[in-house]
Symmetry: C2
Subunit: 512 residues, 2 copies
């Protein structure tokens, strides 16, 4: 059958998984029974264990679901240490349920798949060699991709049941009180990991810095922790930041950023107390800079900035242009190190950030979101997951979640090399066009026709080049031509959930 974004969902998938097809971006007021972990009472003076091997032997069994966070990003040592031990112990049929998978984790996950250690994965995304082998059918069962808010929802509602969570932290005491703010390998907010800490049956902290008891502030609390493993090094501080903290000099990116800024400041949402999420990457940082000037010029301050946080957003907080930062993740050292000293930088968990099934998430109050895309189609559907070759090379992240903002702007170049960004149909629908309001490219922008209010407001702005999405798509096609249709087998290798837990698309195995 076809779901509401016109994607063919094989009946046998719906039957075998129990998924419902995607229907609507509106979640409504469903009542859900939350789940809770099994808790083993612990007393004793210390939970410290000196070896990962010992703890793997103690806690992991065939068929279990294990989890990790990705706050160390490309500087992560913990994932590889734990997975090495798990593979070497000959464990089988595990479900891997990290908050996301970064490139530094690829090789060992590929090995774990090849050896039958991992047969199920749920993640925000995957890239590189891992995306490649999964796209070619290496994993036994389909991957399940979930947004950050969707993962929080899935954990809270029992769709993901974590048996053992292995969470790396830059500091912890002997009982497990820990935070992400202090220490050499500080990454700031523990936002995604806080879900695992609350819901895992068994929680193992891995740290290289044992602090005197009691260690505070305690984002993860001793009441949640079963074991603390002391290792030499949890990560490489230089690779924890995303690196992209410099203002772009790329004229195309600057052009897009300026136009995104024009859209925001001429929208009805740019007023005292507005809120925004900009994300990372050179263009996003440029938007933040333009926005700063616009806020100064118009004497406007923002009530909060949301999401993955960067230093330029911290600067706005310190300047008083942003009143609060609601911080689920920090993208660079500047943002990470600010958290411990600035009480207006509030750490939030993934549920508070974006779970559609809770009593109100930050994204529900978000005015403006600026998001990226691999592809956007003429129905405004967005793909952030698969390349134009059909291979998995992306992550949902908070895309579906932040896209529920009142004004969601996709910023993307019209083409990338010989590949069109605006296309007739995206390879994989991740974020439904219903939640996208404006697409900005370097040559101009397109407004979702259902947003007649925005069309009216933005049409009045002198010099703003407004096209229909079809016009943009045709322009792209003129530049790069019409690609050959992709060839897939019938085998489904990945399922893409919408944030509410319905199935928005499936990804099939690429034909060699």
């Amino acid at each position: 059958m076809k779901n509401k974004v016109n994607r063919e969902i094989p009946d046998e998938i719906l039957a075998s998984t129990g998924y419902k097809p995607f229907e609507s971006v509106e979640y409504g007021h469903q009542v859900n029974q939350r789940v809770a972990p099994k808790v083993r009472a612990t007393t004793g003076p210390s939970k410290v264990v000196e070896s990962i091997d010992k703890i793997v032997e103690e806690t992991v069994r065939d068929g279990m679901t294990i989890s990790f966070h990705h706050h160390f990003r490309e500087g992560d040592f913990v994932f590889n240490m734990v997975m090495r031990s798990i593979i070497d112990h000959g464990l089988k049929d595990l479900t891997l349920a990290p908050s996301s998978l970064t490139n530094v984790m690829n090789d060992i996950v590929v090995e774990a798949i090849e050896k039958g250690v991992v047969t199920n994965i749920t993640s925000s995304g995957m890239r590189g060699s891992l995306g490649d082998v999964v796209s070619h059918g290496a994993l036994k069962n389909p991957v399940i991709f979930r947004s950050h808010g969707g993962r929080a929802r899935a954990i809270e509602n029992g769709d993901i049941k974590i048996d053992v969570a292995f969470l790396g932290v830059p500091n912890a005491d002997e009982m497990g009180n820990a935070n992400g703010m202090n220490g050499e390998t500080a990454f700031g907010s523990l936002g995604y990991a806080l879900m695992d800490a609350q819901y895992a049956n068994t929680l193992v902290l891995i740290t290289d810095d044992l602090k005197p008891y009691p260690n505070t502030p305690a984002s993860i609390k001793q009441t949640q922790v079963d074991y603390v493993v002391k290792v030499d090094k949890v990560g490489d501080p230089d690779k924890i930041g995303s690196g992209a903290t410099r203002f772009t000099k790329d004229p195309k990116e600057l052009q897009i950023a300026k136009m995104v800024n024009d859209v925001i400041i001429h929208s009805p949402y740019f007023k005292e107390g507005f809120s925004f999420q900009t994300g990372s990457g050179g263009a996003a940082l440029a938007v933040t800079r333009f926005l700063r000037q616009a806020m100064l010029d118009n004497h406007i301050t923002a009530s909060f900035a949301l999401g993955g946080i960067t230093k330029p957003t911290i600067d706005l907080l310190e300047e008083g242009l942003v009143k609060k930062i609601m911080d689920v993740q920090d993208f660079d050292k500047g943002a990470a190190f600010s958290m411990k000293s600035n009480p207006n930088q509030q750490e939030i968990d993934a549920s508070w950030y974006a779970d559609p099934a809770n009593k109100g998430a930050m994204v529900d109050k978000l005015d403006v979101a600026i998001l990226s895309a691999l592809e956007i189609d003429t129905k405004f559907n967005v793909n952030v997951m698969s390349g134009s070759d059909g291979v998995i090379r992306g992550a949902i992240g908070g895309h579906q979640d932040a896209a529920t903002a009142k004004l969601t702007i996709i910023s993307a170049p019209l083409v990338r090399g010989r590949i069109a960004t605006i296309v007739p149909d995206v390879t994989t629908v991740i974020t439904p066009g219903d939640s996208i309001d404006v697409v900005v490219t370097e040559i101009g922008l397109a407004i979702n026709p259902k947003r007649t209010d925005l069309i009216e407001a933005l049409s009045k702005v002198p010099g703003l080049p407004i096209y229909t999405i079809e016009e943009l798509q045709e322009r792209a096609q003129k530049i790069v031509g019409t690609p050959e249709p992709l060839q897939f087998t019938d085998r489904v290798v990945a399922l893409a959930e919408y944030r509410d837990g319905t199935l928005i698309d499936v990804i099939k195995q690429v034909k060699d």
Copy 2:
């Protein structure tokens, strides 16, 4: 049958309630399946409702369990406002499950009992007119008394299922982000209320101070809150503090405090990095002052102070003599107002404070606890619940919980007026003698015989008057004589749980 503290527990009570009799102060490593609330998804710009009546109509039904916190203590306006509305709406058969009941709540609870609105109560304690009517059989079903840690355990394990929690807060935003630290009626830590916030199916905040969104720090998070009710005033700031923040001048109290201090500093626990809980009241504050001097004299600092916090303990923190304060409750304004500005004053919930069934509570790491008593018997059992007339007039509070410290000292006068404090058998066993190490009175101290190490250590201290507990009991009896035995009917009016959820004693209806 008789339980392990030799208390007669009627078989029909065990049969009808499913309780197990108290066995041991050791909890061990039981694995418990935690419970979780039902959560109704909420989206929309605001949860603010202008009337308590409206919210009572919307949320409360006959037979439900409703809860409150007692952080406003005798300055609480919220309990009376909500209960007034509940009574006026003619609701029936409610279970009242507050963290405790203060005197300002007595009249309306008595009215609710008389009208059949409330037929079950679980609380840390009760006093005054309420204790009196319950002791005389007014409530339909037996009250269940639980310690703060025991209540946390009961909520987490589903023994207490809160349908609607009504929590007063000195500030909140339109979505329910709130804390206890800011505002005119600030009380500091929300420790007990955080359990209700996490586990109630429906959470109603009541505040008199609506803050701009998002309100941080958020001890209670919008993800937990269903409604925010704005009222004129949540409490009387002058009555929130316990008042007892002055150093005592009573020579008997000073004598006891000095001897308590002697016991501590000559115990093996008084060393760098030790931890303590002193509590409130004039004698406790005097202990804190003596202890301060001893720490200065011996160049010793404490790793943490725990429990209900007072200004003198904050002074130790600011002086560097205490490294961290782990704060479940603040007893005075000085402690309450310090929390927002001192990052080393960590707010902890009741589970973290004292739940025996979690992965490690603060009390498990506690070296020294100084506690009070209404009665202590020759088996070192302590009563903090019923008077010598058999009438309920106390509260378990954290007594059972903190008593698990390595060195638990009961500080109490030998007699109070014509009533002995040290008795052959306490009226009600609340804290088992197995967890009590030393009893200090103005004439001298008694050491639990099983603590041969303490007997040896303290016997060496010149001038420390050590007696057996029987000697102290006889001295008390000589002063006040032998009282007539109390007269009770066979009807059980209250059950006293030990912190692990077993039955440690029952309280019977007093004979008129």
